[in-house]
């Protein structure tokens, strides 16, 4: 069997260079690759183009990268909740490309599975459609969207084995499986790294072929963005 385990987050990020395009899994602060983001924030590299649904909060998630001015272009879908990001966007220090969330998901998946382009209805008649090919199928209008191209995918799973197989938990799955295999190199951090054979092959969400490096994160804060409870 093929083993993908690396021992440190430094090894996991080997080859990352300034100017690269990096996909990052997660929705809000849920399912984000915490250890990889921290290491990237502390690295000497910068000018990244990042593809991620959201932009974190001021002191966590992608916020750590914005604080270190690591990102020059942000491709995302909903970019609220982060003041430093907003400051950089308003002062035009960074470029921001906004994409319908389902289109973002499908563009990642397309890159993963070798589909160069597909049609989607999202954004027809809006500024998202500007410059894109429009075509009708069965009387409905669609835009042509193309697959992303990225150098690194950084994802986070719940459990993984040394061959790179991944299992996600709850809504922390989100964009993570779609980004696995969507970039030249996919790095997965997991809460629990188990030996090959410890995961039921029927329950694996992402087969190891889509993962190049895997490691167990040193620690997980798993911060809750909006703790909401039912009042008794």
């Amino acid at each position: 069997m093929i083993r993908k385990k690396v021992d440190t987050v430094t090894q996991a990020l080997e080859g990352i260079q300034s100017g690269m395009t990096i996909m990052l899994g997660g929705f809000g602060l849920c399912g984000i690759p915490e250890n990889l983001i921290s290491a990237l924030a502390q690295s000497s590299h910068k000018n990244f183009t990042c593809i991620s649904a959201n932009v974190g909060v001021d002191d966590f998630g992608l916020g750590l990268l914005f604080n270190q001015k690591k990102i020059k272009t942000m491709i995302g879908s909903y970019v609220g909740e982060n003041e430093e990001f907003e400051r950089q966007m308003l002062s035009k220090e960074i470029d921001v490309i906004l994409t319908p969330m389902g289109t973002l998901a499908e563009k990642c998946r397309a890159a993963k599975v070798g589909i160069p382009a597909f049609f989607t209805p999202a954004g027809f008649g809006t500024e998202v459609a500007e410059g894109k090919e429009i075509r009708a199928f069965n009387g409905k209008q669609y835009l042509l969207e193309t697959a992303y191209q990225a150098d690194f995918s950084l994802v986070k799973a719940w459990k993984g084995d040394e061959t790179g197989n991944l299992i996600f938990k709850g809504t922390a799955r989100n964009f993570n499986p779609l980004m696995c295999g969507a970039a030249t190199i996919t790095v997965a951090e997991v809460e629990e790294l188990v030996p090959p054979g410890a995961l039921d092959p029927n329950e694996i969400h992402t087969p190891g072929i889509f993962v190049d490096r895997i490691f167990q994160g040193e620690q997980y804060e798993k911060r809750i963005e909006r703790r909401t409870v039912k009042y008794p």
Binding site: P100, G125, W158, R227
Partner: protein
């Protein structure tokens, strides 16, 4: 008496039918979940990857790995499932969701909706809204009839950047229930003690007032 936000949600809840998969947007739409009629079997989808979403958790049992699209902690009901964002938006784009309820800044008399961007103001992004409005067959907008300055949000033509075109089927506001038909806004129901004149006054687009306009029943 105009409807409260909670009343708007209560009225929209009357649109629920047994067997509906429902996606509720942030704001007033979220409140719809508090008013599900008895004996109605529905399931809520949240586009970040859960079907069978339940109420907020009890204090102490919040799970960071279990949130809704508004990033709030939630619970999963028996029969729930988790999935990735491609399959989640596949449910939306593939028209498997039976009812979508969302807020809006403006709706036009042709059913266009604007709810994501105000030029010159901070843009937060469209999130899943464009996927939802371009795909759903049954979209109800929940919003106030006018903006805080008193300007109508039911327009002849949207002035703000669009989220989607010709997609809204029904609007429930604090003043009225209105359907989008070929000729424009068709007044279906009015809030208690709100006059037809007040509704007409608050509606910029073409408002069609039938002979009989019943009062909203809550």
């Amino acid at each position: 008496m105009a409807l409260s936000k909670n009343d708007i949600a209560k009225r929209i809840a009357q649109e629920l039918r047994s067997g509906y998969y429902v996606n509720l947007g942030i704001g007033i739409p979220t409140l719809v979940a508090n008013h599900i009629p008895k004996n109605i079997a529905i399931e809520f989808q949240s586009e970040n990857g859960i079907l069978g979403m339940g109420p907020f958790p009890k204090e102490g049992s919040e799970d960071a790995d279990l949130i809704n699209a508004g990033k709030q902690t939630i619970t999963a009901l028996p029969g729930a499932s988790f999935f990735d964002s491609a399959l989640s938006f596949g449910m939306i784009r593939g028209r498997h969701i039976d009812l979508t309820v969302l807020g809006a800044m403006e709706v036009s008399e042709t059913g266009d909706i604007a709810n994501w961007k105000i030029p010159g103001k901070l843009v937060k992004g469209m999130g899943g809204a464009m996927d939802l409005v371009s795909s759903a067959e049954n979209i109800i907008v929940a919003m106030m009839h006018t903006d805080p300055k008193g300007a109508s949000k039911l327009k002849t033509k949207c002035s703000l950047p669009l989220t989607g075109v010709k997609c809204v089927k029904r609007i429930v506001t604090n003043l009225a229930v209105i359907d989008i038909v070929a000729e424009g806004f068709l007044l279906k129901e009015r809030a208690p003690d709100v006059t037809l004149e007040e509704i007409k006054e608050a509606t910029e687009g073409n408002l069609i007032i039938p002979a009989e306009v019943p009062v909203v029943k809550l």
